[in-house]
């Protein structure tokens, strides 16, 4: 039996974009919720509450969009755990075994989680879905944003979506996806904790430092 080895799994662009996403999503959700339902009404016209909320929303919108693009670009240049195939376990036979195995573990049908170094199969598929939600959120957001100036860059880039889905339809989509992302975040933190305690591979720490404990026997 070989001892555990420490391996560098999540390279710095992966970790950096991850934490930018976390901060951006928190800020965008709080400010976005306020934009959708301004629950605080201020007594004085001297304040600028909605103004700041929207300002923050748009600043972090850029942060989030850039982070998304960087992460997608890194899918071409990163290590095997960061590239496209890592997010499509359904494309290989081996991957399918992991999908079924992980599913059985989550539903308490099996006691063992299939061994993986990178993402587990179900998580990887969830992330591909989340990447798509991110994209829809960014595109619908910039389409709405462009309206302040017809003919502006963002209006020309995404304004055509407005007649297609309707202005209100896009807003509703943008609003609902926030809730889907909040649901995802709850699941994501929980699963991280679960796998950290069960697999004992330091997955929670790995997103900070990049290293995971790998068992060479299992690989």
């Amino acid at each position: 039996m070989k001892a555990l080895e420490l391996r560098y799994v999540w390279e710095w662009p992966v970790r950096l974009t991850h934490w930018f996403n976390v901060i951006a999503i928190i800020v965008l959700s709080v400010t976005g919720y306020y934009i959708g339902d301004p629950f605080v009404s201020v007594p004085s016209t001297n304040s600028y509450v909605m103004g700041w909320m929207r300002f923050l929303h748009f600043v972090f919108a850029y942060v989030f969009a850039i982070s998304w693009v960087v992460r997608i670009v890194w899918m071409f240049f990163g290590n095997q755990y960061a590239r496209f195939p890592a997010f499509a376990p359904w494309a290989t036979r081996e991957g399918w075994k992991h999908i079924v195995g992980t599913f059985n573990y989550y539903t308490f049908l099996k006691k063992k989680v299939p061994y993986v170094v990178g993402h587990n199969a179900l998580a990887a598929m969830a992330y591909s879905g989340v990447f798509v939600l991110f994209l829809i959120q960014i595109v619908s957001g910039f389409a709405l944003y462009g309206q302040f100036q017809p003919g502006s860059f963002w209006d020309s880039a995404f304004g055509w979506l407005l007649p297609m889905f309707g202005n209100q339809g896009l807003r509703l989509t943008h609003h609902i996806i926030m809730w889907l992302l909040i649901g995802f975040a709850i699941h994501h933190v929980y699963s991280g904790w679960l796998m950290d305690t069960k697999e004992k591979n330091g997955v929670m720490g790995s997103i900070f430092g990049g290293y995971k404990f790998i068992d060479p026997d299992e690989e």
Partner: protein, 373 residues
């Protein structure tokens, strides 16, 4: 005292024209005012005033045929609302309106004959104005005038016009008759007569100021003004209501009326939470206002309902809520109620899963020591 603005205006409009209008009972002041309002509405530099004054003075007045199909006559009302000589009336006097069901003196065969005559004599030269949508259902039987269907009339009259102006949301986009389930198969003029040169002036009703400006543009430049993706002239629909709204300060501050007649509403706070669709609607209501600049919905205390946007009756409802209902979840489901439910359900489900997992033993990966290197 020397007033530079005044001399600029008078200087650019020739004395001859001013005298002609004076002879007709329109004072120079009123005429200059009209020309400068038009120049401003069309977002043209003041130097165009003279050109505009000349264009509406030329002697070849284009005849106008005003047709009404599935509409409520609101646009005619909006155009005729004036109780004093105004900009719009100047234009009305100046144009020769050969056919307008609501205001013409002629009736029956006589009226139809006048219309046919204009179409024949001024083929390709007259202006067609359409109010109301055109029903395509039941072979056009839902709306007939003098035994002919609205569709046939529109094809003939708009098809032979120099330009067609669709006034109001019904002729521009189908409007209320076209709202789901659209029982008559109502469509807009540009859908009914695809070959026609159409400009849309939506609004429920349209703003007469914009109709006057569009006509003046056509007379001055011999072509219709530049339009946006929905066929609306940019000079009138190029800016969002929300971005020019007088309540915008309250929006940015965070001051919202929560109900009609509450303290915030009485103080003129933003109507966002009462479902205002100003952030979704492009129209010049805040700057031009209705009825000679008297007022407009948001000034009067009612949120915008987005009436100048395509299919507003279907897409902007519910009028008193910000967002539409989530489809498939019944009447009372708002996105936030569903979302909160979803987040709570996820938390509960994973919480339960967590408890079960914590109690479950023997599924851990065996503990090994870290390799010392």
């Amino acid at each position: 005292m020397h007033d530079p603005e005044r001399s600029l205006q008078e200087g650019s409009v020739s004395e001859e024209i001013l005298q002609k209008w004076e002879a007709r009972g329109v004072s120079r002041r009123d005429f200059l005012k009209f020309c400068s309002v038009m120049t401003a509405s069309l977002a043209l530099p003041a130097s165009f005033m003279g050109q505009i004054a000349e264009a509406i003075e030329a002697d070849n007045r284009p005849p106008v045929i005003w047709m009404e199909f599935q509409g409520c006559t609101g646009d005619s009302e909006a155009f005729l609302r004036a109780n004093q000589p105004t900009a719009a009336e100047l234009i009305l006097d100046y144009l020769s309106v050969d056919y307008h069901e609501t205001i013409m003196a002629a009736a029956g065969h006589q009226a139809e004959a006048a219309k046919h005559k204009t179409v024949e004599e001024y083929k390709g030269k007259y202006i067609a104005i359409v109010e109301g949508s055109i029903p395509m259902g039941a072979g056009g039987a839902y709306c007939t005038i003098a035994g002919d269907s609205a569709l046939n009339i529109a094809r003939k009259v708009c098809g032979n016009a120099a330009a067609t102006i669709a006034v109001g949301s019904c002729s521009s986009y189908g409007g209320i008759p076209a709202a789901a389930p659209n029982p008559t198969g109502a469509v807009s003029v540009s859908e009914a007569v695809p070959g026609a040169t159409v400009i849309n002036l939506p609004g429920c009703p349209l703003n007469a100021e914009n109709l006057t400006a569009a006509i003046v543009h056509f007379l001055t430049f011999k072509k219709l003004p530049a339009t946006d993706q929905f066929g609306r002239p940019k000079f009138a629909y190029g800016k969002r209501i929300h971005d020019n709204c007088e309540r915008r300060g309250h929006f940015d501050a965070g001051q919202y009326a929560e109900g009609f007649g509450d303290a915030g509403h009485r103080q003129g706070w933003c109507l966002y939470k009462l479902g205002c669709k100003g952030p979704e609607t492009f129209h010049n209501c805040p700057t031009v206002r209705y009825n000679e600049g008297t007022s407009w919905p948001i000034q009067a205390g009612h949120g915008c309902i987005g009436c100048s946007e395509p299919q507003f009756w279907d897409t902007m409802t519910p009028f008193y809520r910000r967002l539409p209902q989530v489809p498939g979840f019944g009447i009372e489901a708002t996105a936030d109620k569903l979302g909160l439910g979803l987040a709570a359900a996820t938390a509960v489900a994973f919480g339960a899963h967590g408890v079960a997992s914590a109690l479950r033993k023997g599924d851990e990966t065996d503990t090994k020591v870290k390799k010392e290197d």
